[in-house]
């Protein structure tokens, strides 16, 4: 999708994430506090390395609770990361003072999943899309015009300006959310499940809109979704997350041609496909569901559900790190990387 993008140096990293951890303490209830129990910690994101280059779309997939949305919010510093570093255009942002961070928000934006919850029902479309502009110091007299321009860009009529979110359909609301995110001309946009709440035919409209806007504005996307068909369509590279970690990262074609991590293979085989020929195909059915991120296992996080014959004590005890397998294909698995 980024082939048509304006001249951007794709080799330049825009976002560099290193060793990022996002832990959330669970407040003990009063009984637990009386018993002197240590507060438990959710390891939502637990050591993620990820580099996103200018102009590309990186897809982030994984099942619910794997930490993909948290990772995105930590990168945008909507949460203060527990540990690790996030560099945006070469600048470390995890330690940036609030004022500088506010200025930087012009360059990094987010599109939310729920087109109903993410728009304030009490504010007009003009106020919603105009907010980021006002914060970035655009004079009041210009805001209305710029909002109108944004509306046109996302395919909404100018009459939308003074209306409230509830007067629009799901797809239109998502367009409003996109307009808000793009109003300040960001370089980097996180799209957090932007089409999951939409009907199939509307999904396609929004995907195409996001792609057109990327081509027009030279945007860099981190595209989060649980829908592998969608992510395979929009992404240049795909990162697969499991229990707070990236377990595999590869260019899209590469990942689908040759998935390496046992989890990725199970995930791909589990997706129901729209086809009548070539059935039945082999399906890897995973047993059970992912362990909780409160007490992640010491070794490989996928150990409890792994179906490989080769799995052994090393997997259970030693945490595999991402290993480059060539052609930009990285995987965190002892069996695949030959580190058993």
């Amino acid at each position: 999708m980024s082939q048509q993008a304006p001249a951007v140096d794709r080799a330049l990293p825009l976002v560099e994430v290193q060793g990022l951890k996002q832990h959330f303490p669970i407040r003990p209830n009063s009984v637990e506090r009386l018993l002197g129990k240590a507060p438990r910690v959710v390891h939502a994101v637990d050591g993620v390395d990820l580099t996103i280059h200018r102009g590309e779309t990186v897809g982030l997939v994984g099942e619910s609770g794997c930490g993909k949305s948290t990772l995105a919010r930590s990168i945008l510093r909507l949460h203060q990361p527990t540990a690790g570093s996030v560099r945006f255009a070469g600048q470390e942002i995890t330690t940036l003072p609030a004022n500088a961070m506010r200025r930087l928000r012009r360059d990094m934006q987010i599109i939310f999943q729920d087109p109903f919850a993410s728009l304030n029902p009490r504010r007009t479309v003009e106020q919603i899309i105009g907010l980021p502009l006002a914060i970035q110091g655009v004079p009041r007299s210009e805001i209305r015009e710029r909002v109108m321009a944004m509306l046109a860009k996302v395919g909404l009529p100018p009459s939308a300006l003074d209306r409230y979110p509830h007067q629009f359909s799901g797809g239109q609301r998502q367009r409003i959310g996109i307009a808000r995110a793009l109003a300040v001309n960001p370089q980097f946009v996180v799209a957090d499940e932007p089409v999951s709440a939409l009907d199939v035919s509307i999904q396609a409209q929004i995907i195409n809109l996001l792609q057109d806007l990327q081509a027009e504005l030279g945007l860099t996307y981190l595209f989060i979704t649980h829908d592998l068909s969608v992510v395979s369509y929009v992404s240049d590279r795909i990162a697969v997350m499991y229990l707070g970690r990236i377990v595999e990262l590869a260019p899209t074609e590469e990942l689908f041609a040759e998935p390496l991590h046992p989890y990725t293979r199970a995930l791909l085989s589990a997706i129901p496909r729209v086809e009548t020929r070539g059935r039945p195909r082999e399906r890897i059915l995973l047993a059970g569901s992912p362990p909780t991120p409160i007490d992640p296992p010491a070794g490989c996080r996928f150990y409890s559900r792994c179906y490989l014959k080769e799995k052994n004590e090393t997997c259970r005890l030693v945490d595999p790190s991402l290993v480059d397998m060539g052609r930009g294909h990285q995987v965190a698995c002892h069996a695949v990387a030959g580190t058993l």
Binding site: S201, Q203, A204, T252, F256, I271, L286
Partner: protein
């Protein structure tokens, strides 16, 4: 052909609101045969869920069934009283929903909820055949009956692949994962061995690996019990993996129905074609997706002719004026479109 398990004819479920009559289901006819899975596909508001609720006799206020027949095993459910209907629900037909957390009662143990359904229906059956005066003397408090229901529930949990079922019977719904909860719902639904299972987006709230487990489970149980399934979904992937026949709905009407292969490989209605063209295929970036323009029309004011004519690239004045009837254009393949033949020629699926 033997008589279908479910035969719906000209079903109309209307909602009488302040703003006018909403024809949520408007003259829908279809049949589900023994051991068959019929997929109902469509976007939100197309009437697919309301069709299922109509069959269950659970149409919410201010809606009601205004016309049509719903024949389950030869009996017209529309004519049954609420009391009779209640005996049919659960025993002859059961429904599972998208969100198992909201359909399970959070303050009751799983075991209680599974046995409840068995005791209400299946248990009654046992009772009516056997529970004479001697039976009563033997078991005045119904302890044995309760025990039998518990055993049956345990057996069902095992059947739906719940590990350590005896422990799970004592758990509360929130202590189980989404996939486990949906398994419980399926256990409840199938515990009385219904002839028809209505599944309304049963895997939409679940992760793909869990969805695969659940679909596999439903498939296995269908083979074991011979249950007929009406599967409501928006996901063509699920349909193509699981259904024998497909029915596509739009704005309260059936626009196309037929065998799975026919619908996927030779879709005739522009809407079906539009839907298929708008979904990205896994790992295929070269095949560009093509959205359907516009939005689903408001059900208050549908066009006089074909409901899809406002979004259809082939529509003309005739489409806007005259409503197309379902016609058979292939073996078991019906479509409601004036331009079906033209669509085939354009060939843009």
């Amino acid at each position: 052909m033997t008589e279908p398990v479910l035969d719906v004819r000209n079903l109309k479920t209307y909602f009488y609101t302040d703003r006018g009559v909403v024809k949520a289901v408007d003259g829908v006819s279809f049949a589900v045969h023994a051991g068959e899975t019929l997929g109902v596909v469509g976007e939100s508001g197309c009437g697919k869920s309301m069709t299922a609720l109509s069959i269950m006799g659970l149409v919410p206020h201010p809606g009601r069934i205004v016309d049509g027949e719903i024949r389950l095993l030869g009996h017209d459910l529309v004519k049954l009283s609420e009391r009779e209907l209640r005996r049919w629900r659960g025993r002859r037909m059961a429904m599972i929903f998208q969100d198992p957390l909201t359909t399970l009662n959070p303050v009751l143990r799983v075991g209680t909820q599974v046995t409840e359904s068995i005791r209400i229906h299946y248990g009654d059956d046992l009772a009516s055949s056997r529970r004479g005066i001697w039976e009563w003397l033997e078991d005045p408090l119904g302890r044995r009956r309760r025990h039998r229901a518990w055993e049956r529930a345990l057996e069902m949990l095992e059947k739906v692949g719940i590990p350590a079922p005896a422990d799970r019977m004592r758990a509360y719904p929130h202590e189980l994962s989404g996939g486990m909860r949906q398994r419980i719902m399926i256990a409840i639904a199938l515990s009385c061995n219904p002839a028809l299972l209505l599944a309304d987006e049963p895997t939409t709230a679940l992760d793909v690996t869990i969805q695969a487990q659940i679909l596999e489970l439903m498939h296995r149980l269908q083979q074991e019990f011979g249950t007929s399934i009406l599967l409501i979904t928006h996901d063509f992937g699920v349909v193509s993996e699981f259904c024998h026949r497909v029915m596509v709905m739009y704005a309260g009407k059936v626009v196309e129905s037929g065998p799975l292969e026919a619908i996927l490989d030779r879709p005739l209605h522009p809407y079906t074609r539009g839907l298929l063209a708008s979904i990205p295929r896994l790992g295929d970036r070269r095949r560009k997706i093509r959205p359907i323009e516009g939005m689903v029309p408001e059900l208050y004011d549908l066009p006089a002719g074909c409901s899809y004519c406002t979004r259809c690239p082939l529509a003309d004045e005739h489409c806007a004026a005259v409503e197309p009837a379902l016609r058979e254009l292939g073996p078991g393949h019906q479509v409601a479109c004036h331009k079906a033949e033209a669509a085939v020629e354009v060939g843009w699926a």
